[in-house]
């Protein structure tokens, strides 16, 4: 029986009862309980099912290392699977459900796997389910998937919010046990700025439970005193409920702070991810106790000895009434003593060491406890909780000497320092044979930007298990870290510690040492993933010898606890099986996070409206209320078309094109890039940037230009306006504004740094409004303020002036083939000018148009569009743009590339117009087929559609495409099989299908 006891419970507040439910059953606990302690107090020993065999699982640990007791927590938009009960604070109304069983926790059909476990050893699926081929997809895999997987995924969108915080410290201390606190104090007193993270709710770590006196005080009081002195220091920040999740390159570390998990629904973010940059990091993360590998060590009620002690001391809970303690080291005697003092029957202490332990053993004996040395557990039996235990000699194959009926077993296989954070960023380990543990190899620490080590360990994390030595080690770490940051630590007195000395551990990797095959197949290493001693031995036998192979073949250590309990035992078993020393076998790689962290915390505030920045033009707010349907273009949202109430989206596009061609349209073109280029060498520079000559452009004039990458491909196009002798304004595509500016700066800074040129990206200084169509001039004239006549402002020129009293710069350029004015206006007045234009346009039937109408009109004119006709593999020559490539210039970016054999190959596909024979619209992206197949059996092709639309102007489909020898094949008909099952026939025509002579734009 697991129950609350009257005494003890330093962390609970018995005056504040709390109610909660487990699998719908109401239960009671106290404020300060963890869900684990509360479940145990309610005698809920069975809490879950294992991954593969669906074996009954109970709570085995008391902290972050818990592999078994995972539950679904909360409901609806706050439901979360796989929460460890040992690190879940109890709160009123908490609602938990157990996982991975059907139909119920007590009766789980999946448990047949356990009965069949002999047929399902490690890696059995690699050897089976091979035939027949189709069965894997339809039968085997679905069954396997359904039985794996632990908790259920949430069904609703998360109700909580998350945030990030950038923190900086000289010294980051991870772990707030006595070692962490001591190290922090030392570094802080030296003057360093110190940040201390503790994952739990409590300072002090294990020590208050383990006992010992420091400076004449009970450990607990000493801890309180140190914490309060740290709190009073301005250079120290202390955080609880904040886990050091990972250590990364150059002193970067992540802290995972859980703010409202223990009080869901309260104001503020649920989790905060601390992005910490520290000059030095001290990991004072303590040590974790190892289980012992004996048959039946997974039966609920078998628990780590230290955990059992924690439940008694911290929460006033006795996990059993009749307990057997089994150990290979002295520490577990503390548990026996604690249990005895709490009134629990300790039936036996089995010490695997032939001569047992030291002072603690004597103390236990003094309390009347029976200690059997050289003994171990042959087997623990019981279904859903421990019923009895068979004792055997440790040196033997497991013949039972005696059976004891009991309801709980406390086991201790020794301690492993938590070296995870030391190792995340490359810190290496050393095997200490005597202590039977991997230690940080201080000679090979993770190195930072300066090539020097930046992580130190302190206390039990260094492998120093005695309190006095741990404090000394921590002091040393604090000093060293402070020194590395340029501070000098004062010579302080080390705290005085009273503690009992301990006898050395005797490593026990299998209990009993020569356990039979049958027992090995019941001796669990990884409780969650059901990996047993026999599985690791099988992996070794089959040649999966590297520890990494063993891990992947057996899934040892791949569970949600990442092998915190199982890894060392597993690799020791492997080392034995291979006959290689443990350090030769080595560990698997430690990877962040230390324990799992929420995706929400990782994404931080980048959700919903803040997922990505949305860019707004100065006119943006007008579009929505006027029917705009938007399309994302980079981070902008541009109106695709303005739909009227009784219209389809397509219908709107058609109307917009027609109206622009027949009357006048207005377009928000503010997103186009505008880059100012100025200086004595500006012309020379632009001659390198563009394929054509820009230096010869006269002030007041505009010229269309092309830009290529150094690799020859067309990357952007646009109109350049020459402002004055030394100044050009380069227009880029919407997508190009930022990267073309960066491209220019790159060449200026890294290649032609002696050229006198400055650039400035002024894209957002201006709103740009295009007024387009036969009545465009009339609209502008209605506003008045400047002469926009053909003579004052001819095609491909620009002029400064004002319209409706607003200062503007007007460019006579056209992307539609219509009479067109692009009006640049300061962004702050963009909306005002737009409103004036809209009002003035009313009598001319002016309508706004969106990007699709823009695309159709440019296609009717045979103008190329970056991103449609180009795709990163197209050179200007492919597009018939040779007229815009200077032959005279010695050099420009991309020129040499375009001389390579593949680029001058006459079989490159070239731009043409395509006209379906029946007037239908060619499908986007369709290919023109040619005869036969290629060497790989693929149908030969001879061209493709690059853009295709229905042209309301011509009343039929129009398209452009790239075709083999295209321009030489005018009139030929090509076949385009569509993915709609139809085959389209289209004739090769001139790409310009509207107003070839350009009369309309030049009026």
């Amino acid at each position: 029986m697991s129950t609350r006891i009257a005494k003890q419970g330093r962390l609970i507040d018995r005056s504040r009862p709390v109610t909660f439910t487990f699998n719908g059953k109401p239960m009671k606990g106290f404020a300060g309980d963890t869900l684990a302690s509360a479940l145990l107090a309610n005698d809920q020993v069975l809490v879950g099912r294992s991954f593969k065999y669906h074996r009954p699982r109970g709570i085995v640990a008391s902290g972050a290392e818990e592999p078994n007791a995972l539950v679904g927590l909360g409901v609806g938009a706050r439901f979360e699977p796989n929460q460890r009960v040992t690190t879940t604070a109890l709160f009123d109304g908490l609602c938990a459900v157990s996982q991975n069983h059907w139909p119920s926790l007590e009766f789980d059909i999946g448990a047949v796997n356990s009965a069949l476990s002999r047929f399902l050893p490690a890696g059995f699926y690699y050897k089976t389910f091979i035939h027949p081929r189709a069965f894997w997809k339809y039968i085997y895999e679905p069954v396997i998937r359904q039985s794996a997987g632990l908790g259920k995924p949430p069904k609703e969108e998360d109700a909580d919010r998350y945030e990030h915080f950038y923190a900086f410290a000289d010294v980051l201390v991870i772990g707030g046990g006595v070692a962490g606190l001591m190290a922090a104090k030392t570094a802080a007193e030296a003057g360093a700025r110190v940040l201390v993270l503790e994952q739990s709710r409590h300072w002090g770590g294990r020590t208050p439970v383990d006992g010992g006196e420091i400076d004449g005080m009970a450990a607990e009081d000493w801890i309180a005193a140190v914490v309060s002195s740290l709190k009073s220091m301005p250079n120290v920040t202390l955080r609880r409920r904040c886990m050091g999740a990972g250590v990364y390159d150059h002193g970067y570390a992540l802290g995972y702070e859980r703010l409202t998990d223990h009080r869901p629904g309260t104001e503020g973010p649920r989790h905060r991810l601390w992005r910490i940059r520290a000059r030095q990091i001290i990991t004072a993360t303590g040590a974790l106790e190892r289980p012992l590998s004996f048959a039946g060590n997974d039966v609920p009620g078998v628990m780590l000895a230290s955990a059992m002690r924690d439940y008694v001391v911290n929460y006033g809970v006795a996990p059993g009434q009749r307990v057997v303690v089994v150990t290979n080291n002295d520490d577990a005697y503390r548990t026996a003593i604690t249990l005895k003092q709490a009134g629990v029957d300790v039936l036996r202490i089995l010490d695997a060491r032939p001569t047992g332990g030291g002072g603690l053993m004597e103390e236990a004996r003094g309390l009347g406890l029976r200690v059997d040395c050289g003994r171990g557990v042959a087997k623990v039996s019981g279904g859903k909780r421990v019923a009895k235990l068979a004792i055997c000699a440790q040196e033997g194959s497991g013949a039972a000497l005696e059976e004891i009926a009991c309801d709980a077993v406390a086991m201790s296989g020794g301690w492993s320092p938590v070296v995870h954070l030391w190792s995340h960023c490359g810190g290496k380990l050393d095997w200490d044979e005597a202590a039977a543990m991997f230690l940080p190899d201080v000679a090979r620490p993770p190195v930072g930007a300066d090539g020097a080590g930046f992580v130190q360990t302190a206390g039990a994390a260094s492998g120093v298990l005695s309190l006095s030595e741990g404090l000394a080690d921590a002091t040393q770490a604090g000093r060293a870290a402070a020194k590395a940051c340029g501070f000098k630590a004062k010579k302080g007195k080390l705290p005085e510690v009273t503690e009992l000395g301990e006898m050395p551990i005797a490593p026990v990797w299998l209990m009993p040492a020569s356990a039979s095959d049958e027992l090995r197949a019941k001796a669990w290493l990884d409780f969650q993933n059901d990996v047993k001693v026999s599985d690791v031995q099988l992996a070794a036998r089959e040649g999966y010898e590297s520890v990494e192979h063993t891990k992947r073949y057996t899934t040892l250590g791949m569970a949600t606890d990442q092998g915190k309990l199982s890894n060392i035992n597993g690799l020791a078993v492997l080392s034995e099986a291979l006959g290689r020393a443990i350090p030769q076998v080595g560990t698997t790689t430690f990877r962040p996070p230390y324990t799992p962290i929420s995706f929400g915390a990782m994404a931080g505030d980048a959700r919903g409206a803040l997922f990505q920045p949305v860019r707004h033009t100065p006119i943006q707010d007008w579009h929505g209320p006027h029917g705009a349907e938007f399309e994302p273009v980079g981070q902008w949202r541009r109106p695709y078309a303005y739909r009227r109430a009784d219209e389809s989206l397509d219908g709107a596009v058609m109307r917009e094109v027609k109206n622009t061609r027949q009357a006048v349209g207005i377009l928000d073109a503010s997103t186009l890039g505008k880059i100012l280029v100025k200086g004595p060498d500006a012309g020379r520079f632009l001659d390198m940037i563009y394929t054509n000559v820009m230096s010869s452009l006269a002030p007041g004039k505009c010229r269309y230009g092309l830009m290529c990458s150094e690799n020859g491909f067309l990357i952007d196009d646009g109109v350049v306006a020459r402002i004055d002798d030394q100044t050009f304004l380069c227009h880029t595509t919407t997508g190009g504004a930022d990267h073309i500016h960066a491209h220019m700066e790159e060449w200026l800074q890294t290649e032609w740094w002696d050229w006198q040129v400055y650039t400035a990206n002024v894209t957002e200084q201006f709103a740009q409004i295009a007024v387009v169509g036969p009545k465009a001039r009339a609209v502008l004239e209605r506003l008045g303020g400047m002469d926009v006549s053909k003579t004052a402002l001819p095609f491909m020129t620009w002029a400064d002036g004002s319209l409706a009293g607003i200062p503007v710069r007007v460019y006579r350029i056209s992307f539609s083939g219509e009479l067109s004015f692009e009006i640049g206006v300061k962004a702050g007045q963009g909306k005002a000018l737009w409103d004036r234009l809209i009002a003035a346009g009313d009598e001319f039937a002016m309508m706004p148009y969106g990007t699709e109408a823009l695309h159709i009109m440019r296609a009717e004119k045979g103008f190329i569009m970056i991103g449609d006709e180009t795709d990163g593999t197209v050179i200007p020559q492919d597009l018939g743009l040779n007229w815009a490539i200077s032959k005279k210039k010695e050099d420009f970016i991309g020129k040499r590339a375009q001389a390579r054999s593949h680029m001058t190959d006459p079989t490159r596909w070239k731009l043409v117009g395509l006209e379906t024979l029946d007037g239908s619209v060619l499908p986007d992206g369709a290919y023109a087929v040619a005869e036969g197949v290629n060497a790989n059996g693929q149908r030969n092709t001879q061209g493709r559609v690059s853009s295709t639309y229905y042209s309301p102007t011509l009343g039929r489909g129009i398209a452009m495409g790239l075709v083999l020898h295209g321009p030489e094949r005018m009139g030929e008909v090509l076949e385009f099989p569509g993915i709609d099952g139809k085959t389209y026939q289209a004739r090769i025509v001139d790409p310009v299908v509207f107003d070839k002579e350009g009369e309309k734009q030049n009026v």
Binding site: F165, G268, L676, P680, V762, G805, K826, G828
Partner: protein
């Protein structure tokens, strides 16, 4: 003539810090040899301030000058005066190789004040805002959430932030989120 408007027309929010769009602000990008006489003269002409040192913003009678790069300053001045001050700057620059351009409308400016202002900034910029590490007169160009932004501390301890106009809405929402009630970090 029509009254110009700033990107968010002076939006405000009160949370653990006060966030306000500063409204119309005159801004001139000045590129040139920062050590040269003409550039110094242009800075003085616009702001009345001395050219700022690396990573600094210097305050003058008519405005402030922020260090943006080794060859670029951002000059702040009253919005309405910007065109005239730009002309003055150009006059001061004379024939020197330099570029001065009015970018008042291309940017949005925010003020962040209050006890938790440092923390609000610390949630968004990868910068150390601890007292002592970031003090009045300091200016840093960096990243705020997912956008480029510059942040400085005013003489009164409040923060100024500028970013591009098109992302003003995002910037404001981001600052607002970082200043949500109940989200104080409690470190500065």
């Amino acid at each position: 003539m029509s009254e110009p408007i700033s990107a968010l027309n002076g939006a405000r929010f009160d949370g653990i810090a006060r966030i306000a769009e500063a409204g119309l602000t005159g801004m001139i990008t000045l590129r040139g040899d920062l050590a040269s006489k003409p550039v110094k003269a242009a800075v003085a002409a616009v702001t009345g301030a001395k050219p700022p040192g690396q990573g600094q913003i210097s305050f003058g009678k008519t405005g402030a000058a922020g260090w943006m790069s080794p060859d670029e300053l951002m000059l702040f001045c009253p919005y309405a005066a910007a065109p005239a001050l730009l002309a003055k700057a150009e006059a001061a620059l004379g024939r020197a190789h330099a570029l001065a351009v009015d970018v008042s409308d291309a940017r949005a400016v925010f003020r962040v004040d209050g006890a938790a202002a440092r923390e609000v900034m610390g949630k968004l910029f990868p910068i150390d805002f601890a007292p002592g590490a970031f003090e009045p007169g300091r200016l840093r160009r960096s990243r705020m959430g997912q956008i480029a932004a510059a942040v400085w501390m005013e003489q009164d301890g409040g923060f100024g932030v500028i970013c591009f106009r098109s992302v003003a809405g995002y910037a404001f929402a981001l600052l607002k989120e970082a200043a949500t009630p109940g989200s104080a970090v409690g470190v500065y």
